[in-house]
Symmetry: D2
């Protein structure tokens, strides 16, 4: 990459991506390239910015899916398990669960046990609501066990998360008198016409990145500190993977409206 | 059901459903109940009517999903396999493939082999389009093999189709130099705010069913014969499961625009 | 156009459009051009085909608008008047009114008086529903009066319909104790990502038009006779402007579910 | 209201609304009612909170409308004027213009002249883009002139903004060789299924308002200070109508990508 940069006679490089891309950008900067970062990932797992673009659209798509699943859940008295993306962060799952009015939300930051989930579904049934919507992040971790992976990790590649929804579904089914179905939304979350929020954020990030290049602010990443776009050191964005705070306001709001996270004591 | 009908002192019964519900309605009619049918199924597998309501919405939802998958397919040079519903009929898969501009469409009515699919994906790659969208109906049948089922059929229950997309994906992957991902849209196809087409059809069917009761046309089902709503004997609707005609216009139009059905001779 | 056709050395011409375009195609055919027509208009006012493409999408967009207006109508006890397109045909207005659950629907084919509309809105109010949704086609005609036009007709141009919604609103307001708002959806109905129905129809029409050229069926237009695509003489499509039948099934179904057309005797 | 509060034996009152509702809440608080405010307005014109709920959905609906208008603008070489809501604030117009890629954006905070708008449209035409999308807020003010109103202000009522889009359209048309159409999106902006962002914000505001009542924080309003929900004095929220800063980042980003605001010197 360094060779190509020089061979092409580039003045500067704008790197658009997530966590991995920003780490590479940081290393390229250390090797002398004049680089500015733009935070783009649906996973929202990058520090130093309120939002990355792509996230808002992904949560909208997932929320639309929950709205649709709810109809069959109600009409057929079903437990619907929906697996969403997010890698090691629960942002997509948590925000979609809140927006979609889900009853259970399993995220990597809160290891789960089966018992409280079963209790939640049963309690709803006893109250005359024999259907439940269960959201699970692909990176979910059982309190006793590991993340679900597609297979052994390949050298140099990130492990591919796979199967969290089916695992949870097969664990839950024996404990329920209701039918259960698992849906994996998959890459449907990664595309489509972006929401207005993501379009504005992308436009502002783009304009700010050009300004940063003009101003010579290399080694920096543009970031949203609502309502402002600022620049921060790429190193700061990479320093901490941004994850859901189990004690934070968002999880607490979800608990307040009755969402089960799988860590409750019955 | 007969006992309940009489115990409730019903004058007549309007039965809303698909293939299975209409067969039951037919039997109840033979047992003396005054019954009128309304065709509702996303699978569109009921004879004697141009459209059943629910189908239009399901195909719209599936088409939206293909639109979203296309973006990641293109940006990541991926082969995206999307499994859609439809039971033994390929209507949802075929119509969604046409509307979404898919490159491969596997339906139960046309048994498939792997070779022509691999050839299609390779040919696209050689032409500079290293991505492909593959649609497969849950009821797809390999030329040599069986439909994919969730497990042994339970007594009295319909067999649960499961796994067609993952099976095709795992068969294709070894033959490709591209990454492949499988998505199963599942029950997301069965809900949500209905399209205008389904709302109008449902309203017209409902009004016509009431008219049929008033007119004493028992044993009949309301049906769309574009642009009219008519009544037909329920028996006629049940006589033939409505399936895609492999030699019909719709399949031919898809072949004309380059869609591979898995039965081509290389 | 004839000169250009020959200068370009064209073998044949495929003309895509509505009523006006098909009349021109017919004349060009009479002048010796080898021409095939494809019916495309949101107005659905072309004969000889079950549907023109564009119509399904326009009705979906209008139905979405009605869904949105309903919320404010209910929360603010308002009468919402929505003007829709369609030129001299009421198809968009009628289908959107049915799909959107409107209470009043004014179309060019049924000249309207104010009295029955006022009576409908008052009756709803007395029943505890102090809001109403009123759909009016741009080409609406009062029983005593003319269509609303933007100004004097320009030579050689079609008259521009304008103001039907505002006219009706200002006539209704003095008779109501409710606030009333007029919205004109305008060209928002003419664009956007097409519905699956329109995409499939467009794809099938396109393939069939090429087939018609290959088969030498000049002077013909492709048409949908559900479920088939056929060819018909362009002359047949132009012979009759296709308009809503005031005694037809669709209007009757709307009356059955309580829609007021402005021609009722109180 | 004070009498009713006591007659009903209320412990506390949660007031949900915008600018006007919060002023009333403030006065009721001064009269001894135990009141907590929740900021809800599509206009986003309330201080002390990053976002009010309803705004995100309104901008999404307006952006979808721009996407649809663009198609006809391009296919017919038209100038499309779209009037959006927002009362005296330009937030909806500005954000929708950015998200929808409009070419001109007229907001109340930046008084406009016709000349720079005409120059922008002409320049686009000369560059081979003979279409333009013009967004105008209902509260727009010409540099020489007044806001457009529906009629004389009624005693005790807010003035009803009306006609800004038609006024601009009729001023522009004589200067252009292109056809121009005006669309007023109206109350379509105020309803529909809310976006995930508004659903989460509404849920969090609701939970926080209950917490504020429990904690006895009367006279306060819940507010978003990203990423936290906080409480602020209602008085602070009412002190300043929140309006677009003509020198702020958002306007500057729009200028950077070429948007004309009507105040440019040619």
């Amino acid at each position: 990459m360094v060779d190509n940069y020089h061979a092409l006679g580039l003045d500067a490089l704008i790197s658009v991506g997530g966590d991995g891309s920003m780490r590479i950008a940081q290393r390229l900067g250390a090797l002398g390239l004049r680089i500015v970062g733009v935070p783009k990932t649906i996973d929202q797992d990058l520090g130093a910015t309120d939002y990355t673009f792509g996230f808002n659209t992904a949560v909208q798509t997932a929320t639309d899916a929950i709205d649709r699943l709810r109809d069959t859940a109600i009409s057929h008295d079903r437990v619907m398990v929906l697996e969403l993306m997010g890698r090691n962060a629960g942002w997509i799952a948590l925000c979609s669960a809140l927006a979609g009015g889900a009853h259970v939300c399993i995220i990597p930051e809160i290891p789960y046990r089966i018992d409280p989930i079963v209790a939640t579904i049963r309690r709803r049934r006893e109250r005359g609501q024999p259907f439940s919507l269960v959201i699970i992040a692909e990176g979910a971790r059982p309190a006793e066990g590991q993340q679900s992976l597609a297979g052994p990790r390949k050298a140099g590649a990130m492990p591919q998360l796979f199967g969290a929804g089916y695992k949870l579904g097969s664990e839950l089914q024996p404990h329920l008198q209701l039918e259960l179905r698992v849906t994996v939304l998959g890459h449907i979350q990664r595309g489509g016409s972006p929401t207005q929020f993501d379009r504005i954020l992308g436009t502002r990030f783009g304009a700010a990145a050009v300004d940063a290049v003009v101003a010579g602010k290399f080694g920096s990443m543009v970031a949203l500190r609502t309502p402002d776009i600022v620049t921060v050191p790429i190193a700061e964005a990479c320093a901490n993977e941004r994850r859901v705070d189990p004690q934070g306001q968002l999880v607490q709001a979800a608990r307040d409206v009755g969402v089960c996270f799988g860590d409750e004591t019955p």
